[in-house]
């Protein structure tokens, strides 16, 4: 049924009155979505995408309110409904799949009752058998076995939780599904599976779909139309083909350009002045000597040996899906997670058997950047305290003025205005700013090694390139070696000197990025690369022509591919 609008927004404006004045989150937005169409809302955080979606659900957070305009949901004026009518409209006519599927399910209820209560709230009490059939059918439609319904949320993986949320969304065949960054917490392989599930089911029930996101590649592969939002305004709207091939608005052009591509143009400005190596020992900077890690019966990391010399600064990327053992590796390197077998040596000293003085030296020289920029600051202290504290703690400060200068230099190095950020509290800063401050904090201690675990997966796409070039500068300008842990092969391709692909705790392919990522030989590496959504309509995302079992079979059959070492980094192959 083409040309039947399921949603019409007319001049929609949303205000947030604050003590400092009214913030206009959405400004005169007009948009029509036809039945069966998939529309992407793309823009940075704060652009009004989620706010618009919540307004359609009439679930705006206090003190937000619709100040002007109308929301028409397939002939119903949403803003005119009573509370009870609106409650009945939710899920039955418009389903909202919130961001962060990790926490979207009630932790103390099994999956099934969380589907049943939704059905009962709209259709009244039903016999248990009927409910069970309904939930089993919905779970089956997203590719989950019926017994999933008996599990508690913490027993599901991230991808499974996201599928459960999709199953919930389609329980009552809504006219419109709103999916708010449904895959932002998932790795590329799972992302592709979940998006295919969502698209298949949307096609089957013929509803409209709003996909909210900030990744132009994902949008290009998933939607029919794109609505580009910036600061609450719709700056461009058209079919995906129009927008990808001929973006008119400069902001849209930026968004497309900001996606790092394998083999594409580099976003870095390498400085070839080659800084002096930070080395004080003849031993390798970091050495894994037969390190493995098992949790109970599960092997997270199979025995692994490598040596990072540190003669010249290098970036070593460790790539893989969630569960591949890459974060376990990071924890082991940082001295947080003792290996089950083997030794981790920092300049020849065992990280897990250090005395107090050596341990302090290790902590100063091995710094970390983690995934979540929100959890890395103590909310009670100003940024200046967070930055200066480790500096003073490690005895680097030569007085107040010196500390201040060091903080200012570090902020400037990551492109932040020190006067603006230093006196603030962490909650007053954006995620991107915080992540850059964490890089700055690490830089102030002039470490020899930085371990960066998914440093950009939680920040806006447009900022990823900036933060990665900050990290790259640590190597390039400050001579710091870096272990970059990520699931994003495109960025690994650009920043690294050496790439290790991890699958189920084993290195399946390793070598210089041009070979490993540019010309993959192992089936798992190929899968990772094929799963990257490209902002290019001529490069299809591919069909889901494999199952985890088939992959496992193939991956185990395939020999690990070692594509040569680079000087200064020796991965021992058995």
């Amino acid at each position: 049924m083409p040309d039947t609008p399921v949603l019409t927004l007319r001049d929609l404006s949303i205000d947030f009155p604050t003590p400092q004045g009214v913030v206009q989150a959405v400004k005169a937005l007009s948009l029509t979505i036809q039945a069966g169409r998939r529309v992407g809302f793309i823009g940075e955080s704060g652009s009004g995408k989620t706010t618009t979606a919540l307004a359609i659900m009439r679930m705006l957070a206090e003190p937000g309110r619709v100040s002007n305009g109308t929301i028409d949901l397939a002939g119903t004026d949403v803003l005119a409904l009573s509370e009870e009518e609106m409650r009945r409209t939710r899920l039955s006519r418009v389903a909202y799949i919130p961001q962060g599927a990790m926490n979207s399910l009630n932790p103390v209820m099994r999956v099934e009752p969380q589907m049943w209560d939704a059905v009962i709230a709209h259709e009244g009490a039903l016999p248990r058998g009927t409910l069970k059939a309904r939930s089993a059918a919905a779970l089956a439609s997203v590719g989950l076995p019926a017994h999933t319904g008996n599990l508690y949320p913490h027993e599901l993986s991230g991808g499974m939780k996201q599928r459960v949320c999709i199953a919930l969304g389609i329980l009552l065949d809504p006219d419109l599904i709103i999916a708010d960054e449904p895959t932002s917490a998932l790795d590329v392989v799972t992302q592709r599976q979940v998006m295919q599930t969502l698209n298949d089911i949307q096609r089957k029930i013929g509803s409209g779909l709003i996909l909210i996101g900030h990744d132009m590649g994902l949008m290009a592969q998933s939607v029919d139309e794109l609505a580009v939002l910036k600061d609450g305004e719709l700056v461009e709207h058209g079919t995906v083909a129009q927008i990808i091939d001929a973006p008119k608005h400069p902001y849209t052009q930026d968004l497309i350009r900001s996606v790092p591509l394998v083999g594409g143009e580099s976003f870095l400005n390498p400085d070839r002045s080659a800084p002096a190596p930070r080395r004080s020992s003849r031993e390798p900077l970091l050495r894994f000597d037969g390190v493995s890690k098992t949790y109970g019966t599960v092997t997270a990391l199979h025995p692994m040996s490598f040596a990072l010399q540190g003669d010249t600064p290098q970036i070593i990327s460790i790539v893989g899906q969630s569960g591949s053992g890459k974060s376990t590796m990071g924890g082991v390197m940082l001295g947080f997670n003792p290996p089950t077998t083997g030794r981790v040596l920092y300049e020849g000293r065992d990280v897990y058997g250090m005395g107090a003085a050596d341990s302090l030296d290790f902590r100063k020289n091995v710094q970390a950047v983690f995934q979540d920029p929100y959890g890395c600051f103590n909310p009670f202290y100003r940024v200046s305290h967070a930055l200066s504290f480790p500096f003073r703690r490690f005895g680097l400060s030569e007085g107040k003025a010196h500390t201040q200068r060091a903080m200012e230099d570090a902020c400037a190095a990551v492109g932040l205005d020190p006067d603006l950020v230093l006196p603030r509290y962490p909650h007053q800063l954006s995620g991107g700013q915080r992540q850059r401050l964490i890089v700055a904090r690490a830089l102030m201690l002039s470490p020899k090694l930085l371990i960066a675990d998914e440093p950009v997966s939680m920040v806006d796409a447009s900022l990823r390139a900036t933060i990665l070039s900050n990290i790259y500068d640590l190597k390039d300008k400050h001579g710091i070696s870096i272990l970059y842990i990520t699931h994003d092969l495109a960025t690994a391709y650009h920043v690294s000197d050496f790439v290790m692909v991890l699958y189920k705790g084993r290195v399946v392919e390793a070598g210089p990025p041009g070979q490993v990522i540019g010309d993959p030989r192992h089936p798992y590496t190929r899968l990772l690369i094929d799963s990257i959504p490209w902002p290019d309509l001529n490069r299809p995302w591919g069909s889901d022509d494999w199952t985890p079992e088939a992959l496992e079979h193939e991956a185990q059959a395939a020999a690990a591919q070692f594509r040569g070492n680079v000087p200064g980094f020796d991965l021992q192959t058995e």
């Binding site: 659900m57 409650r87 979207s104 009630n106 103390v108």
Partner: protein
Amino acid sequence: MPVIPAAYLKNRLITLVLTVLIAATLIWIIPRLSPVDPAEIALGRMASGAGTVANSDEILAQLRASMGIDGPLIWQYLSYIGNVLRFDFGLSTASFPTPVSSLIAAALPWTLGLMILSLVITFLIGNLLGALMVWDRSPKLVRVAIPAAMVFTSIPPILSGLLLMWVFAAKLRWFPLTGAYGLTVEPGWSLDFILSVLHHGFLPALSIVIVTFGFWALGMRGLMITVQGEDYVKLAEAKGLRPRYVLYRYMIRNAILPQITAFALKIGLLVAGQVLVERIFAYNGMGKLLYDAILNQDFPVIQGVSFVIILMTAISVFLVDLLYPFIDPRIRHDSA
């Protein structure tokens, strides 16, 4: 329903026994650090009654023997532990020669009845009110009234008790002033007696409730604010669930979990915390027993009461440990 594994049960039981043993040891050590000799006090009491006591040295030695404070320390300790495990705390020095255990046995049911009832009521009311303070659909009146009612939390329980006595017992004469049951009824499982107990218990219970509900309400408020921002609450609303159902099954159900642990810990504090309430209502419970024992330096009773308090806390924590995996599926019996 998961079954409690035997290994877990064994572990928890060992912890329980160790806690109780360590506590019993402390109870034994602390009075021995005091320079007061309870035998001399008892003798003094006899002397003040009779005017003079012949062969006082002999009596003193006998008293010490009966109090278990003669012989080498290690022997005193071992026989004390052996006795305590059989709930034999010796003889009260103040009401000599009544066994401490029978004093406790007489007082304990009253305290358990009054205190646990008022604790349960406080827990329910406090948590519900705390939740309503946060819920965005609470009536305006509720949101204004609850914080105002919190004022009572800052009143010491003796004052609120006296106030209630003055208004409801002395002026209105709705409730009796003091005592645990009427003088005219025969203790037993008769309807008259039960009604009399409830009638007498109402004011002390109320004075405890209005003073302590704020503790639960404030705690619950903080927990609810956290839960309110959770994604699953947002999704619950997006599913079109009825608001009241979301409040109970999604918000309170999750927010209350830490409060249940606090509840177990409160059970032990409740005797010590409500000593004065029992005192002013002349309610013959553990609190009053402890209060009188302290005044009279009646060490065996102090030790016995302290031991029972610790035992109650340890048992309630033990029960919560067993219960927790059933109320929070993320906690497993083997993970502890």
